[in-house]
């Protein structure tokens, strides 16, 4: 395996290995714990973090009549789904597209755009069913909802995910999550992956990593959900999974030709800032939309999302200013994305002051990760791991620190609100996500590598993805 041929990566690999040894008992222990949890009557104590009832409702005491579809909630969830779409395209497409060299601009933009197409179809066909369909062994949803079979357009889902909006609205909102998660990984292998292999890899990854993990954490019956881990909008499911998989990709694919020697400055930073801005804009749908209704919880998630993001951008900028001597625009934009990542799992559980702390942490930690990367020598082209892996991990753990039932009675208190146990639960969830993402991705990559090869040829890399993979040029002079 090419990974192990790089001596400078050995420490890294050791860290990974130790994580596995930790992960295996964690998964087993977690499953055990989860089993126990499910035995207790669900209505009383089972935490339902992601599927928190629209927070305007009183903490359900007496069995109430089933809530009706609500136009306001539906409007908000549909709006949110559209916003999350805008995160992938144009958001991520441009954020990443601006950071690569001109000869790979289109190829990189295409990766986000075509993932949007590919996973949209995969999700409708089997992805949604595997993720949120009827539970099988706490591990995976069944294929009962294949092709949206039984996914009603005019009734809320029966599992209780989103009681006041049509089931299909919840489904399409979740579709956008699956889409962006897969697209985030592309930052790691930018500028060198074969287009056909990339398509196959993405389809396999969505099916064998994303769908199970979404089920573990959010699906009714999922073992991590049963553990009581909190992940409001996808710190583990979206960001750790994509970020850690990105690390695996960077390690397996190896560096770009000329990495560290050639000039690889971003070809269009205004495009990147535009992308970051669209990410910020769309992320309100991502986080506040995860309240699945237009009430207090959505409002609170909206506020902390904005605040953490702003704080993280400032923190990254200041860290850079101190460490390097100049505040950079790419730094501010990256910091904003890091903040968005970190607040994601916490957004339904923490208040505004906590969100500032989470944001500042995100800015500083992710900037550090990016600096450290250039020491360690692996080539995570666009820092998908540095921002999403590290930011997601920090966010998931920080949720265990800052969560408060005063914000969301359906959540839990974190360490700073008197419940140290939540940190441990969060840690287990993080560990399991890391393990699944890293090893699952390794396996998929190896399979694709053996069957079709992962990288473009040296000459193709030289010419760039735009001409070699697509026979197009991003910018033409006439």
């Amino acid at each position: 395996m090419r990974v192990f041929q790089r001596f400078r990566l050995i420490p890294y690999v050791l860290v990974m290995l130790s994580m596995i040894t930790l992960a295996i008992p964690a998964v087993i222990g977690g499953l055990a714990l989860a089993q126990t949890a499910t035995e207790t009557p669900p209505a009383a104590t089972a935490p339902a973090p992601a599927a928190a009832p629209p927070a305007g409702a009183p903490p359900a005491a007496a069995p109430a009549p089933p809530p009706k579809l609500d136009t306001g909630d539906t409007a908000w969830v549909l709006t949110s789904a559209a916003l999350v779409l805008a995160m992938t395209a144009p958001g991520l497409a441009l954020f990443y597209g601006g950071m690569v060299r001109e000869k790979n601009a289109l190829g990189t933009i295409m990766q986000s755009f075509i993932i949007l197409c590919l996973i949209s179809v995969q999700w409708v066909l089997w992805g949604y069913s595997l993720s949120f369909g009827p539970d099988h062994g706490n591990i995976i949803g069944g294929l009962e909802w294949f092709g949206l079979n039984d996914v009603a357009m005019d009734k809320a889902d029966t599992a209780g995910y989103a009681p006041t909006v049509p089931h299909q609205a919840f489904m399409i909102f979740q579709a956008m999550f699956a889409v962006i998660t897969v697209a985030l990984i592309t930052g790691a292998f930018a500028e060198r992956m074969k287009f056909s292999s990339f398509l196959v890899f993405s389809l396999l990854w969505a099916t064998f990593i994303y769908d199970p993990l979404a089920h573990w954490v959010w699906g009714v019956g999922g073992w991590i959900r049963n553990l009581g881990a909190l992940d409001f909008a996808g710190g583990t499911v979206v960001h750790i999974s994509s970020g850690v998989s990105a690390l695996a990709c960077a390690l397996v694919l190896g560096k770009r030709r000329g990495y560290g020697k050639e000039h690889m400055a971003p070809h269009n930073l205004p495009m990147t800032v535009l992308g970051a801005s669209m990410l910020w804009f769309g992320w309100f749908g991502f986080n506040a939309g995860s309240a699945l209704g237009a009430g207090p919880l959505a409002t609170s998630a909206f506020v902390v999302t904005n605040t953490a993001t702003a704080a993280a951008a400032l923190a990254w900028m200041v860290a850079e200013w101190i460490y390097r001597g100049k505040p950079t625009v790419l730094g501010a934009a990256s910091g904003a994305v890091a903040g968005l990542v970190a607040i994601t799992p916490a957004s339904g559980f923490v208040g505004p002051m906590s969100s500032i702390a989470i944001g500042v942490g995100a800015g500083v930690f992710c900037y550090t990760a990016v600096i450290v990367k250039s020491r360690l020598g692996y080539d995570d082209s666009l820092d998908a791991f540095g921002v999403h892996g590290i930011g997601g991990t920090w966010g998931a753990l920080a949720t265990g620190l800052f969560a408060s039932k005063a914000i969301n009675s359906a959540g839990a208190d974190g360490l700073f609100f008197g419940n140290p146990g939540q940190v441990w639960i969060q840690f287990l969830a993080v560990l399991a996500s890391w393990a699944l993402a890293f090893f699952g991705t390794l396996v998929i990559l190896k399979i694709v590598d053996w069957t079709m090869g992962l990288r473009v040829s040296d000459e193709e890399e030289q010419i760039g993805l735009d001409l070699s993979q697509h026979e197009e040029r991003a910018y033409s002079k006439n």
């Binding site: 400055a265 100049k326 730094g331 990016v370 250039s374």
Partner: protein, 112 residues
Amino acid sequence: MKKIEAIIKPFKLEEVKDALTEVGIYGMTVTEVRGYGRQKGQKESYRGAEYTVEFVPKTKIEVVIADNLVEKVVETILRTAKTGSIGDGKIFVTVLGDAVRIRTGETGERAL
């Protein structure tokens, strides 16, 4: 006929052009180039990566003139393109075989 090539700092172009016009030179051709020399490039920094681009933007002016104008033109460029700091650039003089105006077919100095 001679061809004068001057590599200058880009923001000096207008000044040089105006001065040349004043001494009676009404035609020139300008190219954006990058220069490598004693002048150091600008530091750039993108997340983890730092670069110093060793090539700095320069502007090349090409003027074809009659032999008797060489001194005046060189002197004019020297005067207007000079800032006194490193990187002001160079002037190169070459002998030119012939010149033709495409529109009319005129040749030699009448083509200029």
